[in-house]
């Protein structure tokens, strides 16, 4: 009887692990359905990044030796989504309204505001989703008048301090200039700003 109980427990654990393994990105508590929220016009996006699942594990594995902190951050993530839109030629007030709507959507679903900045037309919001005392999602929304609007949703086990450290060490204009590596070659190592 005891053996049977142990066997049943093991099988149940395996079953729940299998269920967890199969959990989709959209089922994660830190996931924000940016597509459904219709935040930015899709045909005007200047940057669109969607990374999820096994690709994140492969990125983490590839960076383990050369960039251990970046690797450990990525290893805990389930998904990264970035959408950016240049505000030239776009109805800025409409984008502003949609950002406001998304902020309400987040607050209605228990996301906690970590940063709200409204200064000379510029708006920036950072929200965190907390589950059982751990941060499971980060969403950043920003609008810089005449420049661009950006939304970022990072899903998974997040250490904000680690994200802060890494994000400060990466330079966006430089990244944009990095060419895609030739087939079979390792990607170039990014220069870190001083």
């Amino acid at each position: 009887m005891r053996k049977t109980t142990i066997l049943a427990t093991v099988l149940l654990v395996l079953a729940s692990s299998a269920a967890g393994w199969a959990q989709k990105l959209t089922d994660q508590p830190g996931y924000v359905p940016l597509g459904q929220l219709d935040l930015f016009p899709q045909d005007k996006l200047s940057v669109e990044i969607n990374i999820e699942g096994a690709l994140l594990s492969l990125i983490a594995a590839g960076a383990k030796q050369s960039e251990p902190e970046f690797s450990s951050l990525i290893a805990g993530l389930k998904g990264i989504t970035v959408q950016a839109i240049p505000l030239k030629g776009v109805d800025e007030s409409m984008v502003r309204t949609k950002i406001g709507r998304t902020v309400h959507w987040l607050e209605d679903r228990g996301w906690k505001s970590t940063m709200k900045v409204r200064d000379q037309g510029e708006e920036t919001y950072i929200y965190l989703k907390e589950v059982d005392g751990k941060i499971a999602g980060l969403t950043l929304l920003t609008l810089s008048p005449g420049d661009e609007a950006v939304v970022i949703n990072i899903v998974g086990r997040i250490d904000p301090a680690q994200i802060g450290r890494l994000s400060q060490s990466l330079n966006l204009p430089h990244l944009k200039q990095v060419p895609a590596p030739a087939p079979g070659k390792k990607p170039e190592k990014l220069e870190k700003p001083e």
Binding site: T4, L11, V82, I163
Partner: protein
Amino acid sequence: MNRHQHDPSCDEALDLLEAYVDGDLSADEVARLRSHLEGCAACAAELELATRIQSELRALPELDCPPEVLEKVRRAGRGEVVPFVPRPRSMGLRIAAAAAMLTLTLGGGALFLRLQAQPDSPSPQEIAQATQEAKIALAYIGKVTRRTSTDLREDVLQKRLIEPAARGVSRSLGGTQQSEKEH
């Protein structure tokens, strides 16, 4: 005096032996058999063996048949349909079987979803591109926080997320204590 193999009367006698031992022969048959056995040592030896086997079988202990089996046999004998009732299995086995089914179902489903979601493994170029994109995402956060002169650090989180939550809890606790005092 060994007539056993070729004498037709021996064949008849051997056919009657079992019934004789069981006491099922008529008086005429018993008389005829005895008359043969007196003159046939081989058949007499067969009789002795049959008698010994029967007495040894009778000496075996009797086994009690389970009453439900007896009842089934009786009902079957009366032409009634006897339903099959499976033996009750232990609860542990049932749980193990259910867990095994659950594991197979969820494991199979998970594998199916994985295979559906990722039909191909990403190429090294795709991984390198995704690495750059992940860094772009982080760089955007860096750009925004630099622009707003803030940083995602523990102290910012402490100030903006944890402390307000803690204050909210203290306020509600304080409110409770206050109302208790009033009572």
